[in-house]
Amino acid sequence: MASIDQSAPVPLDAEEMRRLRTARIERVGKWVLPLAIMCLAIFLWDRIVVWNEIPHYILPRPIDVLGALIDDRALLFSSLLTTLRITGLSLLLAVVGGVGLSVLFAQSKWVEMSFFPFAIVLQVTPIVAIFPLINIYVDNQTAKLLLCAWIVAFFPILSNTTLGLNSVDRNLRDLFKLNGATRWQELWHLRLPAAMPYFLGGLKIAGGLALIGAVVAEFVAGSAGQSSGLASRIIESGYRLRTARLFAALILISLTGIVIFMTLTWISHMMLRRWHESALKQER
């Protein structure tokens, strides 16, 4: 492999200089622009409240929301932990259930043909409509929320991993057959690694859905006394017209979603960066 001597910079022509400059501006702009827009929006929000003398229980000023975040931090963070626990656990169960089922499906076309339609039924029925039933049959509050979030989150993992397990290069499968590989060897050395990019794609979707599932479940479970997650804080603050706290809880949910997405994107990048096309683009 040829190595380029970095010590003596080659003089660039005008076109290349321009390209280099554009690339540098884009790199900075990618971060600076959204931040600037956000600051501007917050500033406008504040001004609108002040100019129109909007009462704080309708729309609080950003500074009030920040105040609520700080003053109610004990309450809000314990609620955040509750929501995070449900989200994390249901995502974990979604991974175990989704991958487990797809491996089972990959073992036999018959199993897949028999059970896949039911997974779809579970997916397309809105969780809000199923929840009252779960509410009747399941007593434990945590189990209720978990089940609800799991139903929402497991399908993308199941569907993507099944697709991945079935998208193995035909020649590679022949190679395994030629070498007398057992079913288990084929699964472990060929199908699971080949399905990894698909699984990680599903995981990214499922991470967001698990949070949505957890929040929706809390909402539907309703009565604030029963659960203590962020969604309950939102409902409770709504009833009590503590709009600043409502906003604070909302911001926390939003941030949680962003952190989950970024973490899963990072995991995915680290696992695929050496070999998969999707991860290569980011390198250049």
Partner: protein, 268 residues
């Protein structure tokens, strides 16, 4: 060097393959593969060369006829296969890709290391053990694929148009290296190609096939001595052999299609 071709290794008798959609890919193929042969299957697209190769590999079963393997009973490790594409596992390193056939047999990394290092040296890939396929050029990927095909020390190496997708310079280089390996290791090769030049350069026997249905048309003996090198590639002998083979191939391509009953229908 003495011309290759020892005792019969595989005798194919009236081997045919008809797919479930009614297409007859192979029709009554009789072929004897001898120990140490470098045999090329040459023919236009759709003449059943790849189907024949898959049947020899055991990846596909013949509809009619028998495959009679001679000598000691054939083990799974006795057949190496090199596909048209490098067909490497993109997530695995060069070492792991070559190790695969041994690994599936339960050979540990440590046990396999000496053999794999030696083999990678033979295919000029020393130093690339830890590279993943995307870091390699097309030619290097093919070398990994050949090393993987040879890692079990097979008696027969089956190659399905392995160099078709490579540029000419790389192909010439790989042709030379493959011949060198073959002469040193003395395995038997069945090589599918649609290149007259490649088949003449490499093989001691060329089986020219015709299409609709796929069948053996004529066999050409390439009696030029080994080792063959760049001098041979530009010699008058080579040109004459290419012309002769080319003529046979043209006649094979002009051969009328046979209907099921064996009558000529003459429609192309």
């Amino acid at each position: 060097m003495k011309p290759p071709g020892g005792a019969p290794l595989l005798i194919m008798r009236a081997v045919g393959k008809t797919f479930s959609n009614g297409v007859t890919a192979l029709d009554r193929v009789d072929l004897t593969l001898r120990e140490g042969d470098f045999l090329s299957l040459l023919g236009p697209s759709g003449c059943g060369k790849s189907t024949a190769l898959r049947i020899i590999a055991g990846l596909s079963s013949p509809t009619t006829g028998v495959l009679d393997w001679r000598g000691p009973p054939l083990a799974q490790t006795d057949i190496g296969f090199v596909f048209q594409e490098p067909t490497l596992m993109p997530w695995a390193s060069v070492f792991d890709n070559v190790w695969l056939p041994l690994r599936l047999k339960g050979v540990s990394r440590r046990e396999a290391t000496p053999a794999i290092s030696a083999l990678l040296e033979r295919v000029h890939l020393t130093g690339f053990e830890n590279a993943v396929p995307r870091e390699l050029s097309g030619g290097m990927k093919m070398r990994v694929s050949i090393a993987r095909g040879l890692v079990t020390k097979p008696r027969v190496l089956l190659m399905d148009e392995p160099f078709a997708a490579l540029d000419e310079i790389t192909r010439f280089k790989l042709n030379n290296d493959l011949l060198e390996l073959w002469q040193d290791e003395r395995f038997t090769v069945v090589f599918v190609t649609h290149s007259v030049f490649e088949s003449v350069f490499l093989s001691n026997r060329i089986v020219v096939m015709a299409a609709r249905p796929g069948r053996v048309f004529e066999e050409v003996e390439v009696d030029a001595p080994y080792p063959r090198d760049e001098v041979f590639r530009t010699s008058a002998d080579y040109a004459a052999l290419c012309r002769k083979t080319s003529d046979v191939l043209s006649r094979a391509m002009d051969a009328p299609a046979l209907t099921k009953a064996g009558a000529f229908d003459g429609v192309h």
